[in-house]
Each structure stands twice: as C-alpha cells, then as structure tokens.
Symmetry: C2
Subunit: 500 residues, 2 copies
C-alpha cells in the first residue's frame, strides 16, 4: 500500500476510534448512566469530540489527501482506495469550512434551545421555544454561508444527511408523491373501517420483548455482535462492525410498538453488521446515508413486519403467547388491525399511509425557514393549517403540533426528509428484490429470511459508505430515488385491506 495512504488510514483510524468511543459514552448515557452523571459525561463527550475534530482537520491530513488525490489520479475510481480518498476529501473539505468557534457556539445555543423546547413542549407554549428556534435558524443561515452557494441554500443542509442530494430533486419527488398519497388517504377515509381494539389492550412487556428478540434472531440480527437494551427512546448505535447495538422501550398505551420498533432498529443494525469489515476504522464504514439507512429499518419493520406472509408465520405463536388479548381475533383481522390507517397528530405514531404527509409538512416549513419565506413566529399557524389540509385534523395545542419533534431544538434542519425518502427507497428496493427472489412471500411465510438478508448484504450493506445514495440506487435498481414504487406498494396494500 502507498505509504501516504497508510499514514492517512492511521490518522483516520484514530479519529474513527475516538468517534466510536464517543458513541459508547452516549449509549451508556441513555441506557445506564445514573441520574447525576450527566454533567461530567457532557464534559467528557465535549473533550472527545473536540479532539476528534482537531485530529481530523489537521493540516497534515489535508496534505495527505491532496497528495493522494494526485497519486490516485487516473486509477480506477471504483476501487476502495479511490473511494476512501474521495469520501475523506469530501468530509475534510466540509469540516474545514466550519470554524471551531462556530461549532462551539452552535453546541451551546442548541443545548439551551433543547432545554427551552423541553419546557415549551411540556407547557405547550411555543413562545418559550420561539427565540431559541430563531437563533437556531440564524445559525443555520450562518452555517450555509460557509459553503459555496448551491442551487438552493437548503442543499447545503440536505447534503449533510444525504450526500449529493439536491433540494429540487427532493421537492420533485414529494410533489409527485403528495397528490397520490392524499388521494389514497381520502379513499381509505371513505371506506369501512377496520377493527383494531385488540392492538391497544394490555400486553405483558417481558413477553413482547422476548417475542421481538425471537423475531429479529430469525431475521438474522447477530447477537454475537450486538445486544438490545431498554432506553427512553429506541435507537441503534455502532461501536464497530462487530458491536452494533439496539434499544427499545415499552409504552403501555401502545404496547405493540415495542415489537415493531425492535424490528425497525434491527433493520438499521443489520445494515451496520453487514458493512464491509475491510472498511473498518475508515470513513467508508457504516451506512451511506440516513435515507438508505431508514430504508433498511422501514423494510424490516413494515414491508416485512407488517406483511401478511410475516404474520402467516408468526401469528400462531404470537396468538398462543397472547391468547387473552387475541381471543377470537383471526389472522386476517389481526393483520388489518396492525395496519389500520388513522390520521393522527404525532409523527412517530403514524401508520405507513399517513407517515409521509407528516414529513412533507416539515420539509415545506424547513425550506421556507431556510429561504426566509416563513418566519419562525408563524410556524404554529402554518403547521395547523397544513395538518388540516393533508390529514384533515387540527392539533388541539402546539405540544401535539409544531413542538412535538426534537430535531429543530438541537438545530438539525434538513434531516426530516430522509425519513420519507427512506420509505420510498424501501419500496423501490423491494420491487427489485421481488424480481430477484420470486418466491419471497413463501420464504417469509415459512420464517425464512436468509435469502432476503443475503440480497441486502450483497446489494446494499457490503458497499457501506462507498457510494453516494443516488449512485447506489441507480446501480441496484437502475433508477434514482422515485416515489412510484412506494405509491404502488401503498395502493395495493391498502386497497386489499380497505377493499378500495
């Protein structure tokens, strides 16, 4: 190997080690840490992040990257080494543009905004959060100003989560999606409703957890390289390709969410566990973007976990475990019940048919804030108007409206669209998978997920961060991200369930 490449890898490896050490500290903070440990932990994380940043943006790293770009000029651009230099260069350029003082200021401002948001949400009082969100938006404008102007100021933000993705492209995707999804929702609303009371009965927490673990074991989640714990919010985190953990929670008023959230996080985790081990300790390791990551979690949660073939396999044992709750509930009734469509106020509880509407609303508001066409003070009113327009319901208060999500509190603007894109990607991949695995349904209904996971490993997981998401999608499906497969999926699924 080139001596300089070796040197670059050593430096990036250290940065990667520190980043993963941070992840361990954050995981522990959410899973184990005693109440009073928070202040010191925040300090420790700040120190690690500062050192990782210093080590990454060091002049010597830039020199190595520049030298290597010349050294590899004209070589195969598809080689792993070329990809490493490309991704490292991209990340380095972005990191160097943002002054360290700005990073500190943003950390400070968003910490305060987070506290204000907590209070505002609990009191359902947007005015408490408003000045902090205004400050966050101001910093977002400043952040954008560090970068060369793109086609749209929102491009810079989007690029942090979806490398290479453009605002116009996302807008076009959602413009194509919106009318079709609204039309479907209206048809569902006009049809006879399904029975779903059994979904919200009391379920035993331990038994649900055990069932969830049995399911993801069958999926192929590797417990020798992972574990599941309880945490206030479900998440997945990676310490190395050989230590990929998930968390779950139990909500007594929505017990089955535990099960679906376990499948969701396991979907993320299996992507990370399938990353190419040769990419460890380099920026090529892990998933390529939030949307592709979300496609994996939503695929296992929804396209697999809320499908009829899945429950053909699992319902008998599930019903046996929860016979009191499911007495007299047939497989078909159960399947319809867990797929009930019900326009609701809270994004994280939304069903498959309404979920994207929540995202489109947020995306429009974000773009407006970044363009300067929507003022923070007007957000609650616009939010409520759009909720009425898209879902036919109006939040009773801001806690159930504009204050519900944490993202804007910590300054993350540009993130939301990846959730909806993830849904689209999941369906687009699924159409390809169904072509490649003709008897997929019967494999799933016999509890066999080996070929499905193998397909994902081969076509998505192993490439890790090597390809940008749109490049990967073209490579795998022959097309960039497009809404049609998702519309086809939703229409077929809900036409059957609601007899449209």
């Amino acid at each position: 190997m080139s001596e300089k490449l070796q040197q670059l890898k050593e430096r990036l490896g250290e940065v990667d080690d520190i980043g993963h050490a941070s992840s361990v500290l954050s995981w522990d903070q959410q899973v184990n840490m005693p109440p009073q440990g928070n202040e010191a932990r925040g300090q420790q994380l700040a120190t690690l992040n500062k050192i990782a940043q210093e080590k990454f943006i060091a002049d010597e790293v830039g020199r190595l990257i520049e030298d290597l770009k010349q050294e590899f000029d004209g070589t195969d651009p598809d080689s792993d080494d070329a990809a490493l230099i490309r991704v490292a260069s991209r990340n380095y350029d972005k990191a160097r543009r943002v002054p360290p003082e700005f990073v500190s200021e943003q950390a400070l401002v968003s910490a305060k905004a987070f506290e204000a948001w907590m209070e505002a949400r609990s009191k359902s009082d947007f005015s408490i959060f408003r000045p902090h969100l205004e400050k966050n938006v101001e910093l977002v404008h400043k952040y954008v100003s560090f970068f060369p102007p793109g086609d749209h100021p929102y491009d810079t933000l989007l690029d942090d989560y979806e490398p290479g993705m453009k605002t116009e492209e996302v807008k076009a995707i959602f413009d194509g999606l919106r009318p079709k999804q609204v039309k479907l929702l209206k048809a569902i609303a006009a049809s006879r409703q399904v029975k779903a009371d059994f979904v919200f009965k009391k379920y035993n927490e331990k038994k649900l957890m055990d069932f969830g673990e049995a399911v993801i074991t069958k999926f192929g989640y590797d417990w020798n390289r992972g574990r599941q714990d309880k945490a206030p919010h479900p998440f997945q985190t990676t310490f190395s390709v050989d230590d990929v953990r998930i968390t779950t929670r139990f909500e007594s008023d929505n017990p089955l969410a535990t099960l679906f959230s376990t499948m969701h996080e396991a979907g993320h985790a299996m992507y990370e566990q399938g990353s190419n081990p040769a990419f460890e300790r380099t920026p090529l390791s892990g998933g390529t973007s939030l949307a592709v990551h979300e496609s994996q979690s939503r695929m296992w949660e929804n396209l697999v976990g809320r499908s009829m073939p899945f429950w053909e396999h699992f319902y008998p044992s599930f019903k046996k475990t929860f016979h009191a709750q499911l007495d007299g509930v047939s497989l078909k009734t159960f399947y319809k019940g867990i797929n009930q469509v019900e326009p609701s106020l809270i994004r994280v509880n939304a069903d498959e048919a309404t979920y994207n509407m929540h995202i489109m609303l947020r995306l429009e508001l974000e773009i407006g804030m970044v363009e300067g066409t929507i003022a923070v003070k007007d957000l609650p009113e616009i939010w409520n108007t759009k909720m009425e327009e898209y879902l036919g319901i109006t939040p009773p208060d801001d806690a159930h409206g504009v204050l519900q999500d944490i993202h804007w509190a910590y300054g993350a603007i540009g993130y939301f669209s990846t959730y909806a894109l993830g849904n689209l990607v999941s369906a687009q991949l699924w159409e390809k998978i169904r072509k490649d695995i003709r008897d997929l349904d019967s494999q799933i209904s016999s509890g066999n997920f080996t070929e499905l996971l193998g397909w994902l490993r081969k076509n998505i997981h192993q490439y890790s961060h090597k390809y940008e998401p749109q490049v990967l999608m073209e490579k795998v499906t022959g097309s960039r991200i497009t809404p049609e497969p998702y519309v086809r999926y939703l229409t077929k699924k809900y036409s059957e369930i609601y007899g449209l």
Copy 2:
C-alpha cells in the same frame, strides 16, 4: 486564578476526560460487550490511552508545571493548588521517564503473557507461563532502570501503587505482623472448630443481590451517582465523582461471597463518591493509594459486614429471606460460621485471619524476583514450601498455587502488598473511629451508618489524592501504617469466636 494554573487545569482536565472515557469503555467491555466486540474495543482503548499519554507528557505541560512551581514557591504547601502542582509534577516526571516504545512493548508482552497464563492455569502447567513471566520480570527490571536508584529497586514499583512508600518500611511492617499472625492461626487450628455448613448451601441469586443492595443503601452508597451490574469479576470503577459504579458476581459454590463482595466494592465506591468535587478533572480526584482504597473496602466488608453488631441488625431479615437455609441457625452460630478460619489455597477466598499470609508470601517472591535472588523457574517450589510454612497446606498443583493470580501475567509487580496494607489501615482507622464514635457498635446494631460514613468522609474521603497515604495516616491517626491495631483486632475477634 493564575493564568498558567488555569491552562494547566485545562490540559489535565482533557487528560482526565480521556482517562474516564477509557474507563467507560473498559467497564462496558466487562459488563455488556457482545463476544465479538473485543478486537475493535482493544483498538479504541489503545488509541485513547495513546492520546491521553501524548497530551499528558507534552512539553507544554512540563513548562507550565515548572513555571507554576516557581510561582507557588513559598506559598502555603497545604493549599489545594500547591497539592495539585505537586501531584501533577510527580506524575509528569514519572510519565516522562518511561519511553513510549517501552509502554508499547510492555503492552504487547503482557498481552501475550496474559494469554499464556490463561492456558497455563487451565492446564496447571507452569512451564507454559514461565518464559512469559521471565520476560515480564525482565521488563520490570528495565522499567526500574528508567528511574534514579532508590534504597531498593522494588521501591520504584511500590511507589506506583503506594506513593511515597518504601520497601524497607513494608518489610518491617510485615516482619512485625508475620509471627503474630502465625501464632494466632496456630491457636485457632488447635481449638474447636465452628459450624459453617449453612454458608455453602444453595442460596437464591436474585434474593442475595437484592439483600446486598439493601445493605449498601443503608451504608450510604448513593444510587443517584452509581449502579451495580453483574460481571465475571467484581470491581469498582469511577467515571466521575457523580458516576461511581460497582459490579458483583454470583458463585453457586460460595453464594454468600456475593453479599460480601457487594459490601467490599461499595466501600471502594463510597470513597470515590466522597472525593472532593472541587478536585474533579484534576489528578487530585479519587483515592490516594491502593492501600487506603483497600482499607475502605475491607472496612465495610469485614470490620462492619462480618461484625456481630452488623448481624444483630440484619440477621432477622436475612434469616427471614433465607429461612430454609438458616433453619435452626442462631445469630451466634451464623456469626461464627461466616467468620470461620480455614487455611486455604486461594487468596481471593481467604478469610480475614489467613488473608495476609497469602500476601506476605507473594511480597517475598516479588522482592526476590526484583532483587534477582529468586529465579522465575524456582517460583513453584518456593511457593509451595512457603504455603506449608505459613498455612500448613501444600497446593496439589500450580493452578491452585503460583498460577492462581492474574497480576504477574499483566506485569503488575508491586501491587500485592497493598491488599495486606489495606487490612492494616482499616484496623488502624477503626481504632481511631471507635475513640471518636463511642457508641459505634450500638449505631451499627441499629442499622445506622450515617456517623461512620460521615467520619470517613471528613477524615479520609474528602482529601482524595491530596495527601500521600502515609501523610494522611499520620494526620488522621497520629502514626504511619503499623500492624498492631490489626493484630489486636484479629486476636480479639478470633479469641471470642474460637474461645482462645
């Protein structure tokens, strides 16, 4: 504050943060980590340790320390700032003397020695471990050579664990202790034995854990700043004064060990929780030495936890919880049973009366290896001879003899004596405590530990690392470490139990 002091504190604070991050990663490695996570974790720990070392031994740190020594020359040597500069200077000088290549070599050699030791112990074959131990001893000689010659080459090693302690002093202490402890053991062996079969019955793990947690809650272990988990070996670890954790384990053939080990680790943890918060992120935080640390753990485990007043309070509820195991067992019988003296082969299972004999044996061998008067190849024979001499028993094989402890495998020579010194310190403090708290026994027998913990907080814990152990002992008890109180304690306790 002096600007340079501020700068030094910032730099030491970063080093401290990285050290505590390492501790989180190590804790997780032992408590949570999935089987395959080990390789990446080792790499992450190596990176963190390397960065902490680099940051600590930086020239700039040395310059700041030198400047501050001049700046503080003539000021109150007992001030916290003066102590900080003194301890930082001491640690810096030691760290700078050891070349980084040596640190790497030792890490590599001891990792191999550890593997060999594991195999040697499992096969009870000293020859597998011998060349690795020889290499470890060679490196220890090299390590000693980096430092100015002391009165004895072992001084350098001892000083890493007991700052300021000299080999001659430790030898003198043990020379004073040995004949008295041997005499006591002979008297016990010649007396009527106590009944202890109930100690080794089957006990429910969960109930024992719960009982242990209830006990240390009463002691004053602060769960808002700590937690207990299961791990292969019990230990205590500190992430900050506000996050001090302990682990425990359950051994089915020695179930009550769970209870005593919980008290032991809580003793360590309460010391750390009682550290002066103003010392956080400086080298003054945490306990002053291993012996003083061990005095706290042994005090709560033995002087409190194996005492009659303690069980006067706890035995009724303990007997209620374990009525099947303790049917017909009176408080007095129980008390005698858990204090049974039985010369045994394994140090970690030794009772209070025999424990120090195990340590003295190891200390003599260590000093011999460092002096060059004992060759590694002769260790098994010398070990067995001394076991016969001190405890009247001979190991059936080396797994139950010279191969039982992990310390020499990872190159830690000079550590063992701190265990025995900890016992002596615990009894020496205890005599002072009894003078200061006249009704200590009746407080304990009513389950009230507030005044005892308060005494320790005020006289030991709050000083953290500010004073060297012998300075602290003189300050608190008026005398450096001395064996007499421990001999008095053992003699009194066992004379009563065995009717000597």
